[in-house]
């Protein structure tokens, strides 16, 4: 019986391994002799094969593609495929071939231009469409805002609002449809492109191989000539010029250099190509091209080399930064603009219901909040009077709003009539609010003048920092279309609030945004690596997916067979499979973040889902320490310093207190323990204000810290940390000390030891596990604490890791995912290692009742 099981098992495995390798085995025959699970398996396998066949069917793929929901995904895939490297490479390869025959430099130039123009015209198509779409969308958005304010001041009834909003929805969908149809055009060419690509790949490889060998020859030759030429004096000047360029000097001129000197030319060109391509190529091509009397073969070689480097240049890492920007734009346009538009449409559609008043309330709240906020910030002491005016206006508006809100909340039965009434009131009120905001705007104009006057005379860094932050916030709000306030109103207030200079800046940046969108649109198409390769990858994936499925199916089949023939083995296998699955879930995020940290790209979108990077690089780790705005090393050192001293203080305070509570009887002991228990429960955010004030009033430590008070010092942070951890840890350590037999230290005392000696010589050595636990946890706590440092530390050089890392990846402008990954790995690895190393103590602590924060 046992043997039969084994035979069946091995047969199933063989069959599935064969199937998994893609060999066409007649599975039904193999299975016809086996037991009852046969029919189920047969069906499963048949299904899998048919599905796999479907998967590689390009026609089906095309249909599915055209069915995809996302306009951008579809368009981007087709565009990218069509105008991707491949086409350019074909042309380049053609040039290589024709350049062999053509000795005329002009011909070469012509061809070069041809490619460039074709490439450009092709590539422009999508961004134009996108930019048009964006403009249309902006237009509609403006109209929507106008309409929103129009509703507020008109007597339109609910039905009209609904129909009007339907019109907006139609307009939006029209824009989206246009974008869809544009992408549709590109779909038509799709099959040709695929075959093109296949052909091109082969040609490209041959071409590149050719170039590389020629390149090597050229290098050898140029090296020789360069050595000869270097003795000349003019060359020394070139050398120094290059050095200057390397140091970042952009204004280096090579006036004295004789470009007609063949050897000089050779050196320059060689240097250009090998070292400084992006800088020099721009400054010398005219010279290069005007040289008709040079060695033709050399020119040919050079132009080939140029082409090769041009190709490399396209792929060079410099573009990855632009790519991130492109990602950003795509992200903004696709996910935010369209979604937000749809949402806006919906919001208007729902205007007849309770939503409208909700929105209006939010709107009024926002205006109110903004007004008061700006008033608060700008109108410090010298401008109180103006502030009073604004305050009173706002207070009035709010009071009226409160009245309406109250009325609205009272609505129960006769909703419709009341709703209409309150809508009218709302309309009046919002008209008034708009008036008020204009009034505020007027007042703020005056304030603005005052403000700029003040600014002239007082150089106040705090104010500047604040306005810079506000500017960022507003820019973000503008780009993400988040704010329900109409654009014009927002700008009036914001524009006044920020000083005039930044307001103009913002307008500039708005224009730039569109220009950049246009430029980066090309790049979106050109370089978005994920989407770029997606179509070829899709085929590969579809193929590899069938492998995965066969493997999964094999396991499933084995399990099913085992279930019927050997229950025990089935259980064992099931257990191990579950454990493996859990391991994958546990390990994948860690593997993924480690893999991401070795990526060359920066954005999350460019990170592969495969945790093992294809081209591992230490770029992100280098950037981490060389980054201009992130001082990672300083954060690390700060966190380490705080953690280390926190550990010392915590252990000292906790152990002494716990010893006392464990070994002595004194008045207030029970209430003291109770106090320690209760005190650790209170959430500390509202206590933060008190801590802040307390720290800012401790000024007598000035000689020690060098700052005015303990705010913005690591010492202050340390005091708060260590005292905060005392209550809980005291409980923990006291519990452990209680479990150490009293007779030990009593014996020591009988032998003449003092309290301190008994503690030091007897209790502490026996309490090492729990003391270590306290040390480990208190060392680790500050590393990842976020709230306290955010509140207490102001200067950038005092930042801790937690704040720095969090800042790195929040906010869409900071698309620094892989940088964050590298930073995170550098923190997590030592801490995890420490934790695993101290696992023994940690488990002791766990069973004593520790909970990880």
């Amino acid at each position: 019986m046992k043997n039969i099981n084994k035979i069946i098992l091995s047969m199933v495995m063989v069959v599935f391994l064969l199937a998994g390798c893609g060999k066409q085995v007649d599975i039904t025959k193999t299975f016809s002799s086996t037991d009852k699970s046969q029919s189920t398996l047969e069906k499963l396998i048949a299904y899998e094969i048919s599905e796999a066949n479907k998967a590689v069917d390009i026609e089906l793929l095309k249909v599915e593609l055209s069915n995809t929901n996302s306009f951008s995904g579809k368009a981007a895939i087709v565009f990218n495929r069509k105008y991707d490297d491949a086409l350019i490479n074909v042309k380049i390869a053609e040039i290589y071939q024709s350049s062999e025959q053509k000795s005329n430099l002009d011909d070469l130039k012509k061809l070069y231009k041809e490619i460039a123009s074709e490439y450009k015209s092709n590539i422009k198509a999508l961004p134009d469409a996108l930019v048009e779409g964006v403009e249309d969308i902006n237009e509609i958005l403006d109209d929507l805002n106008n309409y929103a304010s129009a509703i507020a001041s008109s007597n339109a009834d609910i039905d009209t609002i609904v129909t009007d909003s339907q019109l907006f929805a139609d307009r939006i969908s029209a824009v989206v449809t246009v974008l869809y149809s544009k992408s549709e055009d590109f779909l038509v060419d799709y099959p040709d492109v695929l075959t093109d690509i296949e052909n091109v790949e082969a040609v490209k490889n041959i071409g590149i191989q050719d170039i590389i060998t020629k390149e090597n020859k050229l290098k050898e030759r140029l090296n020789k000539e360069a050595k000869k030429a270097l003795q000349k004096t003019t060359l020394k000047e070139i050398e120094s010029g290059y050095k200057a360029i390397l140091k970042g000097n952009k204004n280096v001129k090579f006036d004295k250099v004789d470009y007609n000197d063949k050897e000089v030319f050779a050196v320059i060109t060689y240097k250009n190509i090998t070292d400084l391509y992006p800088n020099i190529i721009i400054s010398t091509p005219k010279k290069l091209m005007s040289m008709d009397n040079t060695d033709e073969s050399l020119v040919r070689d050079i132009s080939r080399a140029r082409l090769k480097y041009a190709l490399n240049y396209m792929k060079s890492p410099i573009l990855s930064a632009m790519k991130d920007f492109a990602n950003e734009i795509t992200y903004q346009v696709e996910s935010l603009a369209i979604i937000k538009l749809e949402q806006a449409g919906k919001k208007i559609t729902q205007a007849s219901t309770k939503k409208l008043t909700d929105i209006s309330r939010a709107y009024a709240d926002e205006i109110y909040a903004l007004g008061v906020k700006y008033g608060d910030i700008i109108l410090n002491t010298p401008l109180e009077q103006v502030k009073t005016n604004i305050d009173s206006i706002i207070t009035e508006a709010l009071a009226e709003l409160e009245v309406i809100n109250a009325k609205y909340d009272a609505l129960t039965t006769e909703e419709i009539t009341l709703l209409e009434n309150s809508l009218k009131e709302y309309k009046n009120l919002s008209g008034k609010i708009i008036d008020d905001t204009e009034a505020i705007g007027f007042i703020l104009d005056i304030v603005d003048q005052y403000y700029s006057d003040i600014e002239k005379y007082s150089d106040n860094p705090v104010t500047f920092e604040k306005s810079a932050n506000e500017f960022n916030e507003i820019t973000m709000a503008y780009f993400s279309f988040n704010n329900p306030i109409p654009v014009e109103v927002r700008f009036t207030i914001d524009g006044k609030f920020i000083n005039k200079m930044t307001y103009n800046d913002k307008i500039d940046s708005k224009d730039n945004y569109h220009i950049n969108a246009q430029e980066s649109g090309e790049l979106t198409v050109r370089i978005n690596a994920n989407v770029n390769e997606s179509l070829v990858l899709m085929n590969i994936n579809a193929f590899s997916m069938t492998y995965y499925k066969y493997i999964a199916l094999s396991i499933l089949a084995i399990l099913i067979v085992l279930f019927f023939v050997n229950k025990k083995a089935f259980k064992k296998m099931l257990t191990i499979i579950i454990l493996l699955l859990i391991s994958v879930i546990v390990l994948y995020p860690m593997a993924w973040i480690i893999g991401s940290s070795f990526s060359k790209h920066q954005a999350l979108a460019s990170v592969s889902i495969n945790p093992i990077p294809k081209n591992p690089s230490l770029l992100q780790y280098k950037r981490l320490f060389l980054h201009e705005s992130y001082d990672y090393a300083a954060w690390y050192f700060n966190s380490f310093k705080i953690a280390f001293f926190n550990m010392l203080m915590c252990v000292l305070l906790t152990v002494s207190t716990a010893y006392v509570f464990s070994r002595f009887k004194f008045r207030g002991k029970k209430s003291g323990m109770m106090f320690m228990l209760i005190i650790q429960i209170f959430p500390s955010f509202s206590a933060m204000v008190a801590i802040y004030t307390l720290l800012s009033s401790i000024t007598f430590l000035k000689p020690l810290t060098g700052t005015q008070s303990l705010v913005d010092t690591h010492l202050g942070l340390l005091l708060v940390y260590s005292s905060g951890q005392v209550p809980y840890n005291t409980w923990l350590v006291k519990g452990y000390f209680d479990s150490i037999s009293r007779s030990l230290d009593e014996a020591a005392k009988i032998d003449g030891a003092s309290n301190l000696q008994a503690f030091w010589k007897v209790i502490l050595p026996l309490g090492v596990p729990i003391v270590s636990f306290v040390a480990v946890t208190s060392f680790m706590a500050p590393w990842m604490d976020f709230i306290l440092p955010t509140l207490l530390l102001k200067s950038p050089d005092k930042k801790t890791l937690a704040i720095g890392l969090q800042e790195m990846i929040t906010g869409q402008a900071n698309n620094n995912f892989t940088l964050f990954a590298a930073g995170a790995v550098l923190v997590a690895v030592p801490i995890t290692a420490l934790f695993s190393f101290c696992q023994k103590y940690v488990v002791t602590g766990l069973s004593s009742g520790a909970v990880k924060g």
């Binding site: 599905e51 998967a55 992200y331 709240d365 926002e366 909040a369 002491t381 109180e384 909340d409 994936n541 997916m545 259980k571 257990t575 191990i576 579950i578 454990l579 859990i582 546990v586 995020p589 860690m590 999350l604 979108a605 990170v607 889902i609 906790t654 002494s656 207190t657 010893y659 002595f664 323990m673 228990l677 209760i678 005190i679 429960i681 209170f682 959430p683 955010f685 509202s686 206590a687 933060m688 008190a690 307390l694 260590s722 005292s723 905060g724 005291t730 519990g735 590393w783 976020f786 969090q806 995170a824 997590a828 801490i831 995890t832 695993s836 488990v843 069973s847 009742g849 909970v851 990880k852």
Partner: protein, 440 residues
């Protein structure tokens, strides 16, 4: 009149007087006297502190020229609390001083001699040893933990907050239960509070339950006789617990990114989203759809939290005596019955306090929510209350404090959490052995 009475009356009149004049304990008396003298010299500090606490300032920041002279209510509140604490300490030492004088006097009355100063110091060192050892920790705790907490509780009964009551331009005043009635009466706050509170409870229960069951499942699997290399498996499964929580959470929030995150990408590659076998047509908004986000935070929390219970429960399971299982086997129990009637009760009894602690911790689990969703997605509540669908009380408090400067409401919420979690902790503590034995 006996010496005890005399000394008591003298010390009542002035601290240390009884010790010096009647009991002839000069050193002790001088120490007490110095305390009173210092207190009297700073009399104004106490009176103005307590007056400030009661009134929270009278002089407003208007007109502009007077700002420097105006009262800063919050500073007054904090100074008031500090002076009250110090005053409490002085009153206690005053009472102690009288009792000490009477005690020494009684000794003299009975004909005993009092110890000389050297002897007294030694006795004092022995007697006060616990207090001296505790002093540094106690001082820090009183000023950096207790004082801020009292301040926080006091805030809940003031109107300190955006927009009308921010010092130094405006004064803050006591409003009694005004904030509570605001939350009860105003529908905007009422809705948000009820919604967030109920989600907090659901979250805490589910988070604890899933982590416990997950840990139990893995512990059971590891405990099974089929599994070899148990230490190896345990080392793997403990990893999420040992990686710093903030980093895991930030990594997860990126993994769950709707558009570029690897989870949705994988689903696409496996054909669940958007392709040939497509079940779903669009990306899953793991953190952007209210219900999905709520489920997601619980699942991510499971990833972070199950190792803790796994480590705990494997320890407990190995300590369950084999004999019980053998006896059950002889009685013909199945595996399920063995689990149901032996393992589960043993495990639950041993871990009940820890489950309650874990519940409290989850109730206040700021990181798991804030670093994943920042409380979002918004839209569930009125925008003015600044809360999102996954916001629990603690993150809401954080946002009210940091983003909206509504300190009074935040303090009130803190107080509510304090009462709830305090209740749980107290209940938990009451059931500990130490409390029942009345040992400490």
């Amino acid at each position: 009149m006996n010496k005890a009475k005399k000394a008591g009356i003298c010390s009542t009149l002035f601290m240390g007087l009884g010790q010096i004049t009647v009991n002839k304990e000069y050193m002790k008396g001088i120490i007490f006297a110095v305390i009173e003298i210092v207190a009297l010299l700073n009399f104004k500090f106490f009176t103005s502190g307590i007056r400030g606490l009661a009134t929270l300032g009278r002089v407003t920041g208007y007109p502009v020229e007077e700002v420097a002279k105006s009262d800063h209510s919050i500073r007054l509140l904090i100074v008031g609390i500090m002076s009250s604490i110090l005053l409490g300490i002085i009153v206690i030492s005053y009472i102690f001083n009288i009792l000490d004088a009477i005690h020494s006097g009684k000794k003299l009355d009975r004909g005993f001699s009092l110890p000389n100063f050297k002897r007294f110091m030694k006795d004092f060192w022995d007697k006060a040893f616990p207090y001296i050892m505790m002093a540094p920790a106690l001082i820090l705790v009183v000023f950096f933990v207790l004082m801020p907490i009292i301040f926080g509780i006091a805030l809940a009964f003031t109107n300190y907050g955006f927009p009308n009551n921010l010092p130094q331009k405006n004064l803050v005043s006591w409003v009694g239960f005004g904030n509570i009635s605001k939350i009860v009466k105003l529908p905007m706050w009422n809705n948000a509070f009820v919604g967030i509170f109920s989600w907090t409870v659901i979250w805490a229960v589910l988070a604890t339950f899933t982590c416990f069951s997950g840990g139990l499942l893995v512990a059971l699997l590891l405990n099974s006789k089929f599994v070899k290399y148990k230490k190896f498996w345990r080392t793997i499964f403990i990893l999420p617990y040992s990686v710093p929580g903030l980093i895991s959470l930030l990594v997860w929030s990126n993994m769950l990114n709707g558009q570029f995150g690897p989870i949705n990408m994988t689903l696409k590659q496996f054909g669940i989203i958007d392709t040939y076998f497509g079940v779903l047509k669009t990306n899953i908004g793991w953190l952007s759809d209210p219900l999905t986000a709520r489920i997601t935070v619980i699942l991510v929390n499971l990833w972070l939290g199950f190792p803790y219970f796994m480590a705990l429960l494997t320890g407990i399971m190995t300590s369950i005596s084999e004999e019980m299982y053998e006896a059950a086997e002889i009685d013909g129990a199945t595996n399920i019955q063995k689990f149901r009637f032996i393992t589960l009760p043993m495990v639950i009894i041993a871990t009940t306090p820890l489950i309650i602690m874990s519940f409290s911790a989850n109730f206040n689990n700021f990181g798991a929510i804030y670093f994943l969703t920042q409380g979002g997605p918004s839209g569930t509540y009125n925008p003015a209350v600044n809360a999102g669908a996954t916001d629990i009380l603690i993150t809401w408090i954080y946002k009210l404090t940091i983003d909206k400067q509504m300190y009074n409401i935040a303090a009130l919420m803190s107080l509510i959490i304090f009462i709830i979690i305090g209740g749980f902790s107290f209940y938990n503590f009451k059931n500990t052995k130490a409390f029942k034995d009345d040992e400490f």
